[in-house]
């Protein structure tokens, strides 16, 4: 497929898909908490943008609603909540020393290739012009998991979790113009509640081990001391 042949909006979609992937990499590499949250917010913005564009191209009006939802939740509400929590827990300036980011980024790029390899059958099968972006969505999901695996800080893990959600949502949009409305609403609700609960947990964790370092949550295990 030749990018030049596509309409501007399609090109825009593809471009922003690339940007989303980029934001995922930023989250992977970013050691500070606050920029991490910003990166996540940007990802949300881009996602909303894409949703709107897809709605524009495909004329699927219900996608506008989900675009709005995305913007509201992923771009503003959740980042804002996270930030506020970070401030209240006074961790927004914390720096998490990564073992070695370069290896991490290497693995990340390997994951991108892998996800492309995985999504090939889907891509062949799809009728949409922007189908190649499916690979990106898979990559975003896997990168999100990688973030959760790589990060010790609870907030970072939440961000990774949320970016997985982004990836899913992204996939839904670009591969199938989104899910049925009722499902979308349900998912949105769950995400919201999840975010709130995460907030609650930060305080509980903080109260129990007076830090948000999840690597210290290892009392329950089967290895004999």
């Amino acid at each position: 497929m030749d990018l030049a042949k596509l309409s501007l909006s399609d090109q825009a979609v593809i471009a922003s898909a690339a940007l989303i992937l980029f934001t995922s990499f930023i989250m992977l590499a970013q050691a500070r908490i606050r920029p991490l949250i910003y990166a996540f917010a940007w990802q949300g913005v881009l996602l909303a943008l894409i949703t709107a564009l897809v709605a524009l191209v495909s004329g699927q009006s219900h996608l506008y609603i989900s675009a709005a939802l995305t913007l509201g939740l992923k771009a503003f509400l959740i980042p804002w909540m996270l930030h506020r929590l970070a401030v209240r827990l006074n961790v927004q300036h914390e720096v998490e020393p990564l073992a070695n980011p370069s290896i991490l980024l290497l693995i990340g790029s390997a994951l991108v290739i892998f996800s492309y390899y995985v999504s090939v059958p889907i891509v062949q099968f799809s009728t949409l012009v922007i189908r190649n972006t499916v690979a990106v969505s898979v990559a975003v999901v896997l990168l999100g998991m990688l973030v959760m695996v790589a990060r010790d800080k609870a907030i970072a893990q939440v961000v990774g979790f949320m970016s997985i959600e982004n990836g899913l949502f992204f996939a839904a949009v670009v591969s199938t113009y989104g899910m049925p409305m009722v499902v979308e609403l349900g998912i949105a609700f769950d995400v919201l509640v999840a975010a709130v609960l995460f907030g609650v947990f930060f305080f509980q964790i903080r109260a129990s081990i007076d830090s948000l370092d999840v690597s210290r949550l290892n009392r329950l295990r089967e290895i004999d001391e």
Binding site: V120, P121, L142, M145, V149, Q157, R219, E222, I223, D224
Partner: protein
């Protein structure tokens, strides 16, 4: 009322004997009710079995229980009838014995109603196993039996040893049961259904038949206590109340034998002689190993438990011979082996029951199980001593009592080896017979030791010195079994005339010649090959007594202290101990046991001074523990530790797992 209904009565009465006492307020009456019901159950079982056996009838029907498409099939034929009698006899004796015996448990801290409940369901389960005619109900009954007996083993759970025994027992019962289940599964796969009828019908390929046989042999053998999967037996049997030990050793092991016979001779339609060789060898091993271990035991009940292993080995040898002959195309000789096995099943049930009840009586009065603490009981407990002696003579396979008949039949079977084509077998069988002879001789030695140390000589402890004869109920129970020992020993021809309906059912062959010459002469093959007339033997012995004691009585009898070599009077500590008695055999067969023996000599000061004290410690351990069980345990624990390593406690690791699993799956599907 048909025999089958009577059999139901037996089962229900047994179950009720467990349940009803819960409703009775006062414990004393509760016990009475329980054992009265057990007696009813026992008599019903005997009647049902006898009518099925003598009438040679086969009754079958379905019960509205079980799985939707697999109702419980029950069936009562000559084989199960015979085992009904075996169970009934011992249970009857127990129901006389129990009420008085359990008195001392009523004051104990363990609720005897649990005992009633468990033993009731234990017996009901055993009877149901005999009735079951499909794999599902069989397994249900089988496991009910196991669980109930487990509760009996752990009844006095304040002792750690009992808990350990119970755990080992239930674990091995579980493993064995799954083995049996798999065996049935193989048959059902080819038979098309889980009913035994379907399995009989199914034509199983030889290889699969062998697999099924191996599984069943493993499973049933584990329950029967064959070497090397016997470890639970010497732990579990001694720790139950004695009348339960009598049931477990005397009857439950036989139920396992029943299962094995049902599976091998009945369900696996055409047997292969190779199986027979396997059974014969393992049987010989169990017999020899069992008796050697029994010989060195101190604990009376533990000794009896090991001797049960020996007798199971003997039964297996008979079955093995029978399999060899049937597989080799000599059904008549196979029938002799089968009859020998069945006869020994009955005999062992009777005399082992008797011996355990006797040991219970000793325990009841002296609270001692250790032989070294007994002695001289023949003066204090004459009846118990007499019946125990009968049991010892019977189990040592001495004429004219019953143990001898079955072993003699086994010898006769083995000596038919020339009929076989395979020369190796022709040599193997007589050697097996020689092993049997060795076993018999060692058994005799063992029980000389038991009786001589426990009942003869002088009392070694205060308990033994102040023992009294046991109450009437217990005596009745024991005398009943003792009388049976004598009857079964003296009238073998009659008994065989009844039970040779079973080979007719299983291998379509009777023993016409065995009973051909009247009740006086037992001629299994033909009179000019071998004959035995137990009644005449008994007559002769009685005659010599008559002549000696009545016709020419001794003029005067003088009682004097025994010859003490001139060193003052003999004390009871100068007697030969059971350890000393067993020492020569222990040295001759040393490699069999794992013996730790240490002698500490304490001297006053310098090395050559005369010793002031001498301490001798002897610890004899079962080799199979070290060789088989402990390694397995270690493997499992090691594996568990290894698997524990994956659960690090770090959420990141766990995420990594699911991440990698995802990648892995994606990779394999694309």
């Amino acid at each position: 009322m048909a025999a089958l209904d009577i059999a139901y009565v037996a089962v229900l009465a047994a179950a009720l004997s467990g349940v009803l006492p819960l409703l009775v307020a006062r414990r004393r009456y509760a016990q009475r009710v329980a054992f009265a019901l057990l007696a009813v159950s026992a008599i019903a079982a005997i009647v049902a079995g006898a009518s099925a056996l003598t009438g040679e009838t086969t009754l079958a029907e379905r019960l509205p229980l079980g799985l939707p498409w697999l109702k419980w099939h029950v069936r009562l034929d000559v084989l199960s009838g015979f085992f009904h009698i075996v169970i009934g006899v011992v249970v009857l004796a127990t129901s006389f014995y129990g009420p008085s015996y359990l008195r001392e448990y009523e004051s104990g801290q363990n609720d005897p109603t649990v005992l009633n409940l468990a033993s009731g369901f234990f017996i009901a389960g055993m009877l149901l196993v005999l009735l079951a005619d499909d794999a599902f109900s069989f397994m249900v009954a089988w496991e009910v039996m196991s669980v109930a007996s487990y509760l009996l083993v752990t009844f006095q759970h304040e002792h750690a040893a009992n808990r350990r025994a119970g755990f080992l027992y239930l674990l091995m019962a579980q493993i064995g049961a799954v083995g049996i289940l798999l065996g049935f599964g193989v048959l059902a796969t080819f038979g098309g259904h889980f009913t035994f009828d379907a399995m009989r019908g199914g034509n199983v390929p030889a290889a699969w038949a062998s697999v099924a046989f191996a599984l069943a042999f493993f499973g049933f053998g584990m329950k029967a206590g064959m070497i090397p999967v016997h470890a639970w037996l010497p732990e579990a049997h001694p720790v139950t109340p004695s009348h339960i030990s009598a049931l477990m050793s005397g009857v439950m092991l036989k139920v396992a034998i029943y299962g094995f016979m049902r599976f091998t001779f009945d369900l696996l339609v055409d047997v292969q002689w190779q199986w027979g060789v396997a059974v014969l060898l393992i049987g010989a091993g169990s017999a020899l190993f069992g008796v050697l271990y029994a010989y060195v035991q101190q604990d009376l009940k533990r000794l009896l438990a090991y001797s049960s292993i020996e007798n199971i080995g003997i039964i297996l040898m008979a079955l093995g011979l029978s399999l060899i002959f049937v597989g080799g195309g000599h059904p008549v000789l196979g029938a002799i082996g089968l009859v020998a096995a069945l006869y020994h099943v009955l005999n062992h049930a009777v005399f082992k029951g008797l011996l355990f009840l006797g040991s219970g009586a000793v325990l009841y009065r002296t609270h001692e199980r250790d032989l070294e603490h007994l002695g001289g009981l023949i003066h204090r407990m004459p009846v118990t001593a007499a019946v125990f002696l009968v049991g010892c003579v019977a189990i040592s396979a001495l004429p004219p009592l019953n143990g001898f008949v079955s072993e003699w039949l086994i010898f006769q079977t083995a000596l038919q080896a020339p009929a076989l084509e395979n020369g190796v077998l022709r040599t193997l069988l007589p050697i097996a017979a020689a092993v049997l002879a060795l076993t018999g001789a060692l058994a005799a030695a063992t029980f000389v030791k038991v009786y001589g140390i426990a009942f003869l000589g002088k009392a070694r402890t205060r308990h033994a010195a102040h023992a009294r004869e046991v109450p009437r109920g217990m005596r009745v129970g024991m005398v009943l079994l003792a009388a049976l020992c004598l009857l079964l020993g003296v009238l073998p021809t009659t008994v065989i005339g009844v039970i040779d309906a079973i080979p007719q059912l299983l291998i379509g062959q009777r023993l016409p010649s065995a009973t051909a010459h009247g009740w006086l002469w037992l001629t299994p093959v033909s009179p000019d090959i071998a004959s035995y007339s137990a009644p005449l033997v008994l007559l002769a012995i009685a005659l010599s007594f008559f002549i000696g004691r009545r016709l020419l009585p001794a003029r005067q009898v003088r009682r004097t202290p025994p010859w003490d070599c001139g060193f003052g009077p003999l004390t009871n500590r100068m007697q030969y101990t059971s350890t000393a008695f067993a020492m020569p055999i222990r040295r001759i067969f040393a490699p069999v046991w794992h013996v730790q023996e240490q002698v500490e000599v304490t001297r006053r000061h310098e090395a050559d001074a005369p010793p002031t004290g001498l301490r001798h410690q002897l610890h004899i351990e079962d080799r199979t523990w070290l060789a088989l069980y402990e390694p397995i345990g270690h493997y499992v624990i090691g594996a568990a530790r290894a698997i524990g390593l994956i659960q690090t406690g770090s959420v990141r690791t766990y995420l990594l797992y699911s991440f990698l699993t995802l990648l892995f799956l994606l990779w394999i599907v694309t």
